[in-house]
């Protein structure tokens, strides 16, 4: 099972890695004016594919996101939380911008039992 989204320089791939785990890999650059227009439907429908599997959101190959990309990521986290899904958000701990951006999301996820953020 595999789902993709490619818009401009941004590529997202959702694939089942094992019976227990999906991985959503973000690559490239998200720099459109209104990325929510296509990110929200893709991310929400991707979450609806999950049953009890863990979703690993892997941002390590992402080169850049503008601030307009952040609300759709927050909306994805909210949907995961509301639906009671387990997820791990992975960022590149050697990248200063990724570390700053993704550790800041902990203000939201720190109170969530099923969602964690980790640098690798």
């Amino acid at each position: 099972m595999k789902r993709d989204l490619s818009v401009g320089s941004l590529h997202i791939e959702l694939l089942r890695e094992s019976p227990e785990q999906f991985r959503m890999v973000w690559r490239g650059r998200s720099e459109d004016r209104d990325p929510a227009d296509y990110l929200n439907p893709f991310l929400i429908s991707s979450i609806e594919v999950l049953s009890d599997e863990l979703l690993v959101c892997d941002f390590r190959e992402l080169e850049y996101i503008n601030s307009s990309t952040i609300p759709p990521i927050l909306r994805m986290i909210k949907k995961l939380h509301i639906d009671g899904k387990s997820a791990r958000i992975v960022y590149d701990s050697n990248s200063s911008w990724q570390t700053a951006s993704f550790t800041a999301f902990r203000i939201i996820t720190d109170t969530m039992d099923l969602i964690e953020i980790s640098g690798e």
Partner: protein, 163 residues
């Protein structure tokens, strides 16, 4: 400090202007010997400022739509973006964000607090996250001036002088 990348658009700018300015800025940074400068941080700040100008700017009475300059002198980087504004509220909302950035709360706290507001909002909230991101993630200082119907945002950072 002399301007080394300078661009202006007197026509209503399209989103491709953001890409063009980012590309020119990136090429300039890579050509020079700016060892102490964090390129990712500079390009993020360039992008956020120009994106805001394209999104919210209008043609000013002098014909200006977006004026941009990037200057690097040693470890000091300065980025200036000027655009026309439609109403005074646009300027006031920038000043509100800058007052918060220069206030007692840390930049990290402000940024996280804005994330929380966006998360909690039932609608797709937009606006001003970029300024908090410039201050927190980019580590830049920001100032704003109103010149007639033009708003001028200046962001600067000395990469050898960490806060």
């Amino acid at each position: 400090m002399s301007a080394v990348v300078s661009m202006s658009a007197s026509m209503p700018p399209t989103w491709s202007l953001v890409k063009e300015i980012r590309k020119n800025s990136s090429e300039y940074l890579q050509k020079g010997s700016h060892a102490s400068v964090d390129f990712d941080a500079v390009i993020m700040v360039v992008s956020e400022l120009v994106e805001n100008a394209v999104k919210y700017g209008v043609r000013a009475s002098d014909g200006t739509c977006v004026d941009f300059s990037l200057s690097v002198h040693g470890s000091c980087v300065q980025i200036t973006v000027k655009n026309g504004i439609e109403k005074l509220e646009d300027y006031e909302s920038v000043i509100f964000a800058l007052d918060a950035i220069h206030g007692p709360r840390s930049r990290e706290e402000l940024y996280r607090s804005r994330l929380l507001q966006i998360y909690d909002s039932p609608i797709d909230e937009k606006g001003r996250l970029g300024l908090y991101r410039i201050a927190y993630e980019g580590g830049f200082d920001i100032a704003c001036q109103l010149e007639s119907d033009l708003i001028k945002l200046t962001a600067w950072r000395d990469f050898n002088h960490e806060a």
